[in-house]
C-alpha cells in the first residue's frame, strides 16, 4: 500500500504480520534466566573480589574496633569488648557535630539541585552536538586536582582575595567568608555540582517531550505541564543526583578542612582527629559506624519518599 511517487509499480499487499512473539514456554525462560544469572556472577567476580578485599574486610575491622578499648597509651586493646565508644556518640559535642554535618549536607544537596536542574534541563533540550559540548564543559573541572581547586577557593574567598577587593573597591566592607559554614557550602556545592547535573541530565535527556506537548494540549500551562509531567518523570534523576551529592558530602573531609574553621568541625574532620590526633581508634570506629547508619537510614527514607512509581504528584 505504500504510495510510491513515480510511475506505477506493483505494491505488494503487505504480508500479514505474525501476531505476538513465539508462544511462552515458562520452563525455558526460567532455565535461560538461571544461565544468565550464573554468567552474571562470573562477570562480576573481579568486582566482588575487589570489594571484599578493600571494602568488606576493612569495614569488618572498623566494626570490630568500635567495640574495643583504648589503652592509656592510645593503643587499641582487642579484648575487653564493650559499648563505651557507642555511648560517647550521645555526647552533646558529637550530636552537635552530627546535626551540623547533616544540615550542611542537606543544604549542599538542595543548592546543588536548585542550580543543577535548570542547567540539566537547558543541556537536555539543546541540539545533540551542543549537548555533548556542554557535557564536556560540565566535566572539565575534573581535569584538575580537587585539592588544587579547593585551595583556589581559599584564595578567592580570603579577606584579601579578589571578591573582597572588589567589594572594597565598590566602597563596601571586606568579605569575611573564609572559615565559615558558608565557605564550606560554597566549596562543597562547587565540588559536587557535576554529580547532580549528570544524573539529572540523563533523566531529562531521555524525556519523551511529546508527553509535555500532550499535557499542553490537554490545557496545562507551561508551569503545570512541568509540575505534572516533566518533574515526576525526572524523579529518578533527582534521587540519583541527591544521593550522589548527599552521601559524599556527609563524609566530606578535604573541603571543610581547608575552607572551614575550628568552630565548624564536621563529622569527617572529627573522625580523622580521633584516629590521628586523639589516637582513639575505637571511638573513631564507632563514629564511622554511626555515620554509616545515618547514611543508610537517609538513603532508605529518601527512596521511600520519592518512590519513582510516583502517582500524579
Amino acid at each position: 500500500m505504500s504510495g510510491d511517487a513515480g510511475s506505477g509499480h506493483v505494491a505488494a499487499p503487505g504480508g500479514a504480520a505474525a501476531p505476538g512473539g513465539a508462544a511462552a514456554r515458562p520452563e525455558l525462560e526460567e532455565a535461560a534466566r538461571r544461565a544468565d544469572s550464573r554468567r552474571g556472577l562470573l562477570i562480576a567476580l573481579p568486582a566482588w573480589f575487589y570489594l571484599t578485599l578493600f571494602f568488606v574486610i576493612p569495614l569488618g575491622i572498623v566494626g570490630v574496633y568500635s567495640f574495643a578499648t583504648r589503652s592509656s597509651t592510645g593503643r587499641t586493646v582487642l579484648s575487653d569488648w564493650n559499648f563505651d565508644s557507642y555511648r560517647r556518640l550521645w555526647d552533646s559535642l558529637v550530636v552537635e557535630i552530627a546535626v551540623r554535618t547533616l544540615l550542611l549536607a542537606l543544604a549542599t544537596t538542595l543548592i546543588c539541585l536548585v542550580l543543577a536542574y535548570p542547567l540539566a534541563y537547558f543541556m537536555a533540550t539543546r541540539r545533540p552536538a551542543v549537548r555533548n559540548l556542554l557535557l564536556i564543559l560540565v566535566m572539565i573541572p575534573f581535569w584538575s586536582n580537587f585539592l588544587v581547586r579547593t585551595y583556589a577557593w581559599k584564595v578567592l574567598l580570603g579577606s584579601d582575595g579578589p571578591l573582597s577587593q572588589l567589594s572594597q573597591a565598590l566602597g563596601g566592607e571586606p568579605i569575611r567568608l573564609l572559615f565559615t559554614n558558608t565557605a564550606v557550602i560554597i566549596g562543597l556545592v562547587y565540588g559536587f555540582l557535576p554529580f547532580m547535573v549528570l544524573p539529572l541530565y540523563t533523566a531529562l535527556e531521555r524525556m519523551d517531550w511529546s508527553l509535555v506537548e500532550a499535557a499542553r494540549d490537554l490545557y496545562a500551562d507551561g508551569w503545570t505541564a512541568f509540575r505534572k509531567v516533566t518533574w515526576p518523570l525526572s524523579i529518578p534523576g533527582v534521587v540519583a543526583g541527591s544521593i550522589l551529592v548527599f552521601i559524599p558530602t556527609l563524609g566530606a573531609y578535604v573541603t571543610p578542612a581547608i575552607l572551614g574553621g575550628a568552630k565548624t568541625t564536621l563529622a569527617g574532620d572529627y573522625i580523622v582527629s580521633q584516629f590521628l590526633a586523639a589516637r582513639n581508634q575505637p571511638f573513631g570506629s564507632a563514629l564511622s559506624m554511626g555515620m554509616m547508619l545515618i547514611m543508610l537510614a537517609a538513603t532508605i527514607v529518601y527512596f521511600r519518599w520519592f518512590r519513582p512509581s510516583g502517582r500524579d504528584l
Partner: protein
Amino acid sequence: MTAAVALQGVSKAFGEVYAVRDLDLAIRDGEFFSLLGPSGCGKTTTLRMIAGFEFPTQGSLQIHGVELALQPPNERPVNTVFQSYALFPHMTVEENVGFGLRMKKVGGTEIAERVKKALDMVQLSHRATASPKQLSGGQQQRVALARALVNEPEVLLLDEPLGALDLKLRQAMQTELKDLQTRVGITFIYVTHDQGEALTMSDRIGVMHEGRLLQVGTPQEIYERPTSRFVAGFIGEINLLFATVVDHASVRLAGGRLVAAATGVAAGSEVTVALRPERLELYGLGEVVPATLNAVRGRVTRRVYFGDVFFYDVDTTDGVIEVKEENRPGVDLHEIGEEAVVAWDPVATTVVER
C-alpha cells in the same frame, strides 16, 4: 457557515527552510479531513500549527472564526492524538483520560462520569486502573483517543495515529475511527502518509508535497481526477505516459499514437497521460476492440499473480503500460511474450502537466 478550521496564507519556516508555504485551507465543521503526503511534505507541521505546538511564520489560522495562530496549545479548543500516543507513564488509564478535565477544573464527580463514558466508548472500562505500560498498542491507541475526546474538542487532530500498529489491527482501527467520528460528529483532521487510509476514511483529502497543498477534494476526486503529476503518482498505482496535446479532445503519445482525451490546455503543450491499471483492458490479437476505446498495441513482458488480480506489464512503443485484470471466469489470461492490445475508455484518461 464559518469553517471549523481556516488557514490563510500560512507559512512556516525553520531558519531558511520552509516546511509549509502559503497554505490556504478551509476544513468544514464535522468533516473527516485527511492531510496526505510523503514524509517531509509539511503535513505534520500543518497539524502542529493547528494544535499550537508550532506558530506560523506568516498567515492567519482560525478555529470557528476565532484567530488563534499565536495562542498556546492550552488555550485552543482542539485536542491531539499523538503518533506515539504520548500517554503519561506515571498515571493510570483513568488518570490519563481525566487529565484534561482536571486541568479545566471540572468537578470531581463530573470528571469520574465523563472518564467512565469515554472509556466505555473505546471499550476499555475494565482497564481503567491499569498503567499504560500494561496495555497493548491498540489499547494504548484507544486510551489516547478517549483522553482527547473526553474534552469534547471542537476539532480532533490525529497525527498518524495508526502508524505503529500492525496491518490487521490498523484496518480494524480504521473502521472503528471512522465510526467513532460519525458518532461524535467532531471535526477530525487526520495526518497520514498512507493513501489507502486516507481514501477509505476521509470525507475530503488534502494532498501535500514539499510544503505546498497540491489538491483538495473527495477521495474519488483525488483518485480519479488528479490535477497534477505528483498527486496522480502518489495515490494508488498509475501509468504515467508522456504525450503532446493535439487539440482539446486528443493527445499524441510519445510513440506517435493518437488517443482521445479531454485536455484543456493549448495544442502543442507537453503533458502526462495518467492511466489507472484497473481501468485498462487487455485484448488478444484475435479479439475485436470496440472502436470507441483508445487502443495501444504491445507485448506482454511480465505477469504477476496476486490471487484476486493479475498485473501485466505490456511493452508498447509508448512505454511500458501496467494493466490490472481481475482473476475471474470470462477474463482471458495472457501469456508472457504474447502480443496484445491495451484498451481503455477515453473518459478514464487523465491529462496532467508534465
